[in-house]
Symmetry: C2
Subunit: 337 residues, 2 copies
Amino acid sequence: MTQATIRDVAREAGLSVASVSRALNGHKSVRPETRAHVVAVADRLGYVPHAGARSLSMARSNAIGVVLPDLHGEFFSEIVRGMDREASRRGLQLLLSNMHADPAQATQALRAMRGRVDGLLIMSPQMRADGWSSAVPRGLPAVLINSSDDNGHHPALRMDNRAGAAAVARHFATIGRRSIVHVAGPDHNVDARERRDGFAEAIGREIPGALLTLLPGNFTEESGEAAARHILAENIPVDAIFAANDMMAVGCLQTLRDAGRQVPAEIAIAGFDDVPIARYLGLTTIRVGIAEIGARAVERLATMMDDEGDDAPLVEWHQPDLVVRGTTTGSAPQDKS
Amino acid sequence: MTQATIRDVAREAGLSVASVSRALNGHKSVRPETRAHVVAVADRLGYVPHAGARSLSMARSNAIGVVLPDLHGEFFSEIVRGMDREASRRGLQLLLSNMHADPAQATQALRAMRGRVDGLLIMSPQMRADGWSSAVPRGLPAVLINSSDDNGHHPALRMDNRAGAAAVARHFATIGRRSIVHVAGPDHNVDARERRDGFAEAIGREIPGALLTLLPGNFTEESGEAAARHILAENIPVDAIFAANDMMAVGCLQTLRDAGRQVPAEIAIAGFDDVPIARYLGLTTIRVGIAEIGARAVERLATMMDDEGDDAPLVEWHQPDLVVRGTTTGSAPQDKS
DNA sequence: TTGTATGCGTTATCAA
DNA sequence: TTGATAACGCATACAA
């Protein structure tokens, strides 16, 4: 009662395994009636080709490995959705694995991909590349997503955090704010660093003489609340806050409003990511086409797997968009743009 | 510059491939110095075992196939996170695939798993089991998650939609509501049907003489808005609404408040799922331990893969919890329980 | 303790 | 057009 193999089909059809293989794979050199017979027998026996054996023989698995860190809700589902869309369009399977923060585990995850996949999609914003880059199985093409630099060993897709942060700075300038606070993300995270540096630079350029205060955070809502409490307790001068992600911005927003501060009248607040909650709370933020990045990553990897030739630029920057909502303008928080 | 194979290691170490295999896999019958030598050589050559060849030889891939439909944000990431946690604990890889609504594509996805994985996790709330159940490769153990019945061919994990819906009904009874509206999900979805039927039954039991109106929906926020507009336009008597999921409840909530209705004073509103937005809007809802279900599914599948014996009950019901928030009580919507 | 040989399920090369 | 057979990379039964 186990699965039928190609040999079962061959025996039952009175043919050689070679002929069955050719018939099933649509080779031209096989008589129509033979093919029909083979297909009928295969169908009757419920034959399904063994993908493992097939990929061993063909030296190609038609699968790609996806190594992601612990991602929060929408971000995770969107990037996987984008990858899946493009992958299934190309007949590729997705082998998912977690990019643990621990280099040893990361190494393990990467090595486990050897012999299972034809290429790798690696996302590791929180770890330096030398922590894992030697673990990428030799000969496996790989595309990096929002990861710290790899010395150009692999092509990379990056969202342009600096450009997004600069857009917020320009927006703050437009609405006339001058006492700015940035709540940063964890320092080991490359996205967080770029948003912070890009923002600081843009503020200096866009709002000469502005006061910029940097507060630490770790991407959680709680750290956003803590930052807001710190602002209140220390009486830090502020008429605009840019948090390095939406969840921290939400924490700020709630805490400041609970404390009776008017948003945006007294203090404008902006985040980064455009998670669904941002829309409901009317939070100004930076939208990232995350599904598109996932799909594009698969696309680039697929071309690397097919033809060795790789003409696309090594690093591809994806531009995010500023989404202006109620927390930086007068309109109601119910705005659902 | 391609990957080294076990033969390269054997040649370089002056041993047979058998010895190298034994040394690397920790067999007892190999001299310590031999093992050390082999490990050193393997390390120097950057040898990584070819998982495909290994699984062909061992008739075991240490991977499990996960076939999910298009899931929204938090739901998707949580269930995958739960699966991944348990899978990596057991040294299993996750092969992800989309359970398309089209039976032909679903069949394809299932068949593509043959020879790649040792077991299957299948979630298909929107399609009848006969649409795909014959496509499950013979001999592959499988666990069903929130899928319509399979005639007992495979063990199943189900969230107890009826119990969740009944909890809402009891809650409505407690707060003294009598004119009830249920905004249902798509009829082809088994979760939606169970929530509707369980709710109707519980209302009959808990609130004798209550008026229950059933409105159609499709799980989207827009269909929730439409239902609310319908209620307003037709002047349907209502003091409590149970939507089959949170997104529709959110649509109702916004539309009714925009129309000037008091929630919860005039109309109480409850949803199902407890997505993150529910917390921010203070929406009463039903919380499902979705990550736990994912982890438990892997656990059950793993035991099926190891020992053939399967003693656990065929269908395992997971109980959801009622989460009472502002949309059904007097407390403020900012409640962050 | 180590080596030889076989098989896992397929595809591909070469003859027939 | 078809068949026999050698890979693919590894694990293991059996022999030495």
